[in-house]
Symmetry: C2
Amino acid sequence: MPLSWFKAPQPQLSIGVGPWSARRVSAGIFYNRGRVEVPGGFSAFSSLAANHHPEALPRSATRSELDYAPVTVDLPGGSTGKWPSLWLRDNCQCSKCIHPDTRQRLVDTFSIPEDIKPLAVRNLENHLEIEWANDGHTSTYRYNWLSEHHLNQNSSEPNSVKFSPERQYVADDPKTYPTVLFDEVMSSDEGVRKWTDQIYRFGFSFVKGSPPTPEATEKLLERIAFIRPTHYGGFWDFTSDLSLKDMAYTTEGLGGHTDTTYFTDPAGLQLFHMLSHTNGSGGESLLVDAFEAAKTLYKEDPEAYRVLKEHGVSGHASGNEHVCIQPARPFPVLNHHPDTGELYQVRWNNEDRKPIVNASPEEISRWYAAARKFNEILTRKDMERWFQLEPGTPMIFDNWRMLHGRSPFSGKRRMCGGYINHDDFMSRYLLLRDGREKVLGRI
Amino acid sequence: MPLSWFKAPQPQLSIGVGPWSARRVSAGIFYNRGRVEVPGGFSAFSSLAANHHPEALPRSATRSELDYAPVTVDLPGGSTGKWPSLWLRDNCQCSKCIHPDTRQRLVDTFSIPEDIKPLAVRNLENHLEIEWANDGHTSTYRYNWLSEHHLNQNSSEPNSVKFSPERQYVADDPKTYPTVLFDEVMSSDEGVRKWTDQIYRFGFSFVKGSPPTPEATEKLLERIAFIRPTHYGGFWDFTSDLSLKDMAYTTEGLGGHTDTTYFTDPAGLQLFHMLSHTNGSGGESLLVDAFEAAKTLYKEDPEAYRVLKEHGVSGHASGNEHVCIQPARPFPVLNHHPDTGELYQVRWNNEDRKPIVNASPEEISRWYAAARKFNEILTRKDMERWFQLEPGTPMIFDNWRMLHGRSPFSGKRRMCGGYINHDDFMSRYLLLRDGREKVLGRI
């Protein structure tokens, strides 16, 4: 690869060896585009002088000053990144350090010298190269990759709350409901991209023109990923005979809820296809966007929001003789990414909720008040989306976001459908949306 | 049911209406065994006087004093429990409030009057009965159930750490390795009970006398629960051809790791059965008890323990073209139950670890130092259990606890096995260990 100073625009880089508290010195030496900084000013070398070694550090330098020597890089686009040397060595992107096929780390992290530091740093055309002083290796990093891996030094406060602008709210008008065609999903990845994009953005989607058979429905679902089995089986095809002991298998009405809160990892997507409904009526379906309801709660009652975000609740599935499933630990109703503060999962199933015992009576009273408020919002008429499922139009939704329910019904309904893990859904969605190169670039 | 004061020993109960800060008054009125307390002393009624109503509260009582009126019950065995009225009404155990088949909650939590309070409290022979003043319902609770549902007012400090004494460490002597017989597992639930008990207590178990076929191995695994499929499929039967792009499918050595740290919910159990090994040698298997190693870390370097307990790390599976799986959020290496402080899951896979970006350089340096220390303990000779897998003796282990690995090998090995979810494993284990009644009694 050619060295980069023949072309513009070029990334700039600088290297500083010193304790974390060291700030960029204003007297940094600039040489062409290779900016070099060494706190204390005892030594400097340019990125251009690839084989130029830094002078020995002063004898007074302590071990902690040597450890994790930070490397600062000015990236294309104007941003600057700073990473510990140990981090950079550990995350070397060369094919000896990351298996080119499996993409797994091959470098033995714990054999890297603790006081590793660069001997030379070179800014090449598309990537940065670092020759290490004390382990005989030369590392490479694409600038795009470095840009994707800025250290988040301002990681979110434990109480921060963010709602992704990508999650959009669908008005209560069946004409605006997100829809794809069975044929486009079955015939092209572009169809699946459109479908998963609707599920991610709006929380649900209808598939029109599906053959009203379990076989076609199963194949449709598998266009996203394999079906997740549970103690109820994998792909299901059932009538309301209560052969499985869960309210879902009755003819009763069901208020809005998310499924499988009794799992450590609740089901990610759920698809329903009503194949037939004979000799009766009723059974309208309900969807409620719990992310939108959470936003409303946050505005109207931040204290209630905080309680539902912080207090863990557990669930159970005990209806069938040979199972009594409970999550490995309690989880809050409102689950947020600890780094970004983004709401990513709502768990709401009052039927399957275990008694709360992990709290003082004061906290319990706060939890009930908060849950009552959230329930009030979730059941507002303008939050509810009611519609009738029809043979030929399966409906799929994000079970980490949308509550679902139904009104009571009479007669015999035949339903089929299944679950998909959220992890597998997100993998499929992001690869189709961004392409493999971009997704891997963020790893 | 007969009233209970004819027999001894009897539970005692008392009821107090007042704010949470109200402490038991020392001048509590005792009447036979029914102890009654009402802070302020304006009114008292005995559990024996089932239809005796409390006087009206003084006009100065505020709303918050009325809400969640606590009910105090002296239970058999000498303990005392205190629960908010709203909690008790919400968790009424009668068959109208909990579906007798599905065990799901039927009472509409959010229709219960916020200021619900008891009109009468009766201690019957095996259960407590509460007649509510303001919703027309009478609730029942078995005393055993109440005993199991003491409110944990001392829920663990965020930094508390506990190691379950049930998790036992197996010495490095193959004669002491936990073992069951294929026939006992296949022929009786008692065999499965013994098997799952070994897996839970010791982290692993060998099954002797298995037919060396995939069919028999699959049936064996399904004695615990259904097999969990992943993007690699369900039950697997493979040789080292790298048809699937993961290091597991090579002939290379693998250091100790847990599997599927790239899932929100890593695989719970993993079973390996080596069906054959021809034209080569090597491929010894490794197990390391990471719970035991964590205990050692806690003793030797509590600060490192804290860092691995608090700092989230993410993983990825990107080796195959159509997947790039990542957990919904980062998880720490050492995962603790938030209420009990018990270590319940270790996630340790350096190969699949994503670069850490959700931290300042200082925190990253601390994380690397802590991980290095944990790795040093995990790789101590006395932590490692090396053995050779043999046809006819499948080995199963708890992937939330035990690291596994192998030495490099030559020749052709045929392996089969699969995963089981931890939730499904725990369901099966606890039901077999304690029986359905006892397990449901804790719900």
